[in-house]
Every structure is written in C-alpha cells, then in structure tokens.
C-alpha cells in the first residue's frame, strides 16, 4: 500500500525521501487535508479493534469466557502499542536492508511534530501504522479463544509482533524485497490477513481443540454483540483501506467504494449459499461473509474498480464459506472463531486475484493497472504468488517456533482443564461478564 503506491513514480529516490529519511524531506510541505483524513482513519482503525473486533469475537464464545476475549484484545492493544513505539516501527519502516529495518526510529526518536512522511506528519504515519500492528495480533485471538493462558497469550502476541509482523511489514511496505519486486498489497492482505490467518491455524493446531470439540455444542453466547462488532468493523474498514491511500483524494474514495461493495457482495453471497444449502440464511453467516468480503478486498482495494470488487466479494463469499466448512467439518481443526478460513483464505484469495482485476482491460471490471514495469496479469500474478507463498511459509514456521518457546517459558500454553470448564473469566480474571 503506502509504500508501493508511491514507489511507482520514482522508485528508489522517493522511497528514501518519503519513508526512510522523512525528516530530510524538507522540500515537502504538510498537506492538511491528507493529515485530517489520516487522523480520522487512525481513529477508525483503532475503533476496529476496540471495541469492534473485541465485540465480534466476544459474542461468539460462551458467556463464561466473554471477558477473557475482551481482555485479550485490550491487552494486545496495549502491548503492541508500546512495542511499536519502542522498536517495532523502527524495525518495520527504518531504512535497514531488504529484510528488516533499523534502530533509527527507536522510541520514535527523530520524529518531531514537524517531521513529515510524504506530506503528512511522520508521527501520524507511525501512529496510523500502529493501529495495524494492533489489529493483526488481535485477529489471532479467535483461534485460541476459550483455552489459552493469559500470560502465554501476552508473551506470544508480543514476540509474534516483532518476529513475524514487523519483518513482513518491512518486506512489503517498508521497502523490503517484496516491495522491490513490485508486489501489490494496498492495505494489508499479506501483511495483516495472511499473517494473522496462518498464525491462527498454526496456533489452533498446536494448542489443540477446546474440551468437548467437536461433539459438544458451543453456540455463540451473544450474537447481537457479534453483529454490532461486525458493523463497527465495516465502518472502521473505511479507515483501514481508505486511509491506506494516505491522502484525501479519489484514490481513497475509490478504495472505500470497492471496500464497501466487496463487503456487501460477500455478505449477500454467504447469505444466499446458506439459504440454498441449509434452507435459512443466518445473521452470523451474513456478517461472516461481510468480513470475508472485507478481508479479501483489502490487498486489492487501491488497484481495482467497483466491477472488480463485485466479483471479488462474490468469490470471497464462496471460497471462504467452503473453507470454513472444510476446516471445521473435514479437518476438524478447532480454529475456534474461524480466523484462518475467513482472514487467511480471504487474504490469500485477494492477494492473488488483485493481479486479475488490476488489469485495465476488463471493461466494466477493470482496475487501475499493474505495478511499475509489469504489463500482464501473469506478470503481476507471479509476484503475488511469490509473496503469498513465502509469507505463508515464513509465518507458519515462525509461529510454530514462537508457540513452542512460549509454551516452555510459561509451563504450557493452555489453562488447566478444570479452569477451562469453569470458564476463563472467573479463573483467569476473577470476574463475570454478566450479573443481570
């Protein structure tokens, strides 16, 4: 996204000017309008995690674990923010090399109120990026909900942020090796959704299923909470994708249009599938399809048009629906809140299919062209495929290792079986969600 879009103009020089040495970009002037929009977008993306995603997830668990999910999302928000300030931003967006940034921005040093990144304050750029660094580990929570130790969860999320999220961000948005290749990831299909989705799948397998899965029914305790959270995610996503234009202009507007259309189409498609297949469309299905549509359009949102978005939303609904059934019913993996089939699969789908719908030659389904120097769907597709595969492999291995390490450090990743039965709210936090 951020990086990629500008690099198309004068690849290396702009890169240096805008991102690595922003304080030197004296020639550039602050653009107040763009700043206003990114300030807003930052609030919107934070809103996605708290309370949006927290509610979306918390409504899906059993009522004895509702606070534990909220607590995980909140604690991750705090820890990720502090880590991002201390070292994360610097390692992700500091110049460094093709693989990792450097320590030039540790504690946001060198970032003054006047320092710019492009034509917005660098403090704002770093803050906007912080909200992405928050939501990504928070997404993984859905995989290990209702059974992971709070201490292990915290340690895992912090390490994972630095070891997985930060380098991948550098590769794609920080001028790293995938950026150099011309990969397309407007707002985080690879950086956010694939990393989170794959980590979720690995975590679900390593932790094992919840006690009783899949024989015992574990229906969502409060679907109204989940739907309200879904609504907030939808709205917040305007900041996620629209803000990734880093400007208040037609790019941002079109990003919002395609985002919205894909969400609508994803939800509608999922609804229709359930209607056909099970006889009744469910509200949970509709909002799941919506999230699938949003996740899938994310990497493509700056590169495709409304027609493309319609197809992307349609495919998101079909593919993510099938993936959900497959993981749960066939593989019987307890990725409890379906993080991988929705975000992981959606992210993969979107990161690949952007190569098609970015094409300017599809009539009403056209997009806005390929990366600099690339002239065909196949050309763009192969770069996207390289990115997808390498990030899947890297994330899977790194996540596995981190989990094993954390397990060793905390004496096991899971709470003990009795606590799991009684619920994490009381046993881990000495609280109960509801006393109605």
């Amino acid at each position: 996204m951020h990086f990629i879009k500008t690099i198309k103009i004068t690849k290396i020089s702009l890169f240096l000017t805008l991102f690595i040495l922003p304080s030197l970009a004296v020639a550039d002037e602050l653009n107040g309008a763009n700043t206003a929009w990114i300030l807003t977008s930052t609030a919107l993306v934070l809103f996605m995690t708290i309370p949006g995603l927290a509610m979306f997830y918390a409504g899906l668990v059993r009522s004895k674990n509702v606070l534990s999910v909220f607590m995980q999302c909140f604690a991750i928000t705090c820890v990720a923010s502090i880590l991002w300030l201390v070292v994360g931003y610097s390692l992700a967006f500091g110049e460094g090399n093709a693989w990792i940034g450097d320590f030039s921005r540790v504690m946001f040093s060198g970032i003054d109120r006047e320092t710019l990144s492009g034509d917005i304050p660098e403090a704002l750029f770093a803050m906007f990026q912080m909200t992405f660094a928050i939501i990504t580990p928070a997404l993984i929570v859905g995989a290990f909900a209702e059974r992971m130790k709070f201490s292990a969860m915290l340690l895992f999320s912090g390490i994972w942020l630095l070891v997985v999220y930060v380098p991948v961000t550098h590769w794609i948005w920080g001028g790293g090796w995938l950026a150099e290749m011309g990969i397309y990831d407007f707002a985080g299909g690879l950086v956010v959704h694939i990393t989170a989705g794959v980590a979720a799948l690995v975590a679900a397998v390593v932790l094992g299923p919840r006690k009783g899965f899949p024989s015992t029914a574990m229906p969502p305790h409060n679907l109204t909470m989940t739907i309200v959270g879904a609504g907030m995610l939808w709205v917040g996503w305007f900041g996620f994708n629209g803000g990734s234009a880093l400007a208040a202009n037609g790019d941002a507007a079109m990003a919002i249009v395609v985002t919205h259309i894909s969400a609508s189409m994803g939800a509608f498609t999922w609804m229709v599938i359930e209607w056909k297949k099970f006889g009744k469309p469910s509200a949970l299905g509709a909002v799941t399809g919506m999230v699938a549509g949003l996740g899938t359009i994310t990497p493509a949102s700056g590169f495709v048009g409304p027609g493309g978005a319609l197809i992307i939303g349609l495919l998101a609904g079909i593919v993510c629906f099938s993936a959900t059934q497959y993981i749960k019913r066939v593989l019987k993996i307890d990725d409890s809140l379906d993080v991988f089939p929705v975000h992981g699969v959606g992210g993969i789908l979107g990161s690949l299919i952007v190569a098609v719908f970015a094409s300017t030659e599809l009539g009403v389904f056209s997009g806005y062209g390929f990366a600099d120097g690339i002239s065909s769907i196949a050309g763009q597709f192969s770069i996207q495929a390289i990115g997808v595969v390498s990030i899947i492999v890297f994330t899977a291995i790194a996540t596995y290792v981190i989990l094993k390490l954390v397990s060793a450090l905390t004496g096991g990743l899971r709470v003990d079986s009795e606590d799991e039965v009684q619920g994490l709210d009381v046993t881990s936090h000495e609280e109960t969600g509801y006393n109605l």
């Binding site: 899949p214 029914a217 574990m218 229906p219 099970f278 299905g285 019913r329 379906d338």
Partner: protein, 112 residues
C-alpha cells in the same frame, strides 16, 4: 392442601393465569424452565457447526390449593393450556403438609 406443579408452553401462561383467576385462585409462582420430552427441539447452525437445541422453553407454575380447589384448578389448567399439540405439558400433584404466610404467620388454608 395440595401443591400443583404445571409445566406449560410459555405463550399459554397468560391464559392459564386467567383461567385460575376465574375460579378464584390468584396466587401462583412461575419459573422459566427447559423441557425435555417427546416434543423435539430444533437444530441451529453456526457457520456450519450444528448445534442441536434439544430442550424447549417451558414455564412451570406452582400453585398451592386447598383440597376443594384441586379438581377445578386442574380442569382450569388443562382447558386453558391445551393446544392439542405435542409438548403441551404435564400437571403434577403433591401433598402439602403445611403452608405459612410469612407476613402474618397464618397457616393452613388461611395462608393460601
């Protein structure tokens, strides 16, 4: 004195109470319960995970009555709660050895 425990469909609660009222019984204690029996529940699907809801929401009425009121009370309940569909519920009768009104300390039929 007898204690009548009736398990009926929730939407019939108002009818039953009215029927009891008509024969002069105003005191009732009601509990929301889950019923299992011949009548089957339904299946809910959450993202494809099936969840068989095998209980059905019912309400339980507890009514203390004097011996004389017993039969008319039972009739009133049967008549008002009946929908001729499976799951209409049951009436249980047990013997009440003592009844006390807390406010006054009255006992027996006086206390009803």
């Amino acid at each position: 004195m007898k204690l009548i425990t009736a398990i009926v469909k929730p939407f019939k609660l108002d009818d039953v109470r009215e029927a009891l009222n008509d024969i002069g019984i105003a005191g009732v204690t009601v509990t929301e319960v889950k019923g299992f029996g011949r009548q089957r529940g339904h299946t809910e699907l959450y993202r494809g995970a099936e969840y068989v809801v095998d209980f059905l929401p019912k309400v339980k009425l507890e009514i203390a009555v004097s011996e004389e009121q017993l039969d008319s009370a039972i009739d009133a309940i049967v008549d008002s709660a009946n929908t001729n569909k499976i799951g209409d519920g049951k009436i249980f009768v047990t013997n009440l050895e003592k009844v006390i009104r807390i406010r006054t300390g009255e006992t027996g039929n006086e206390a009803l």
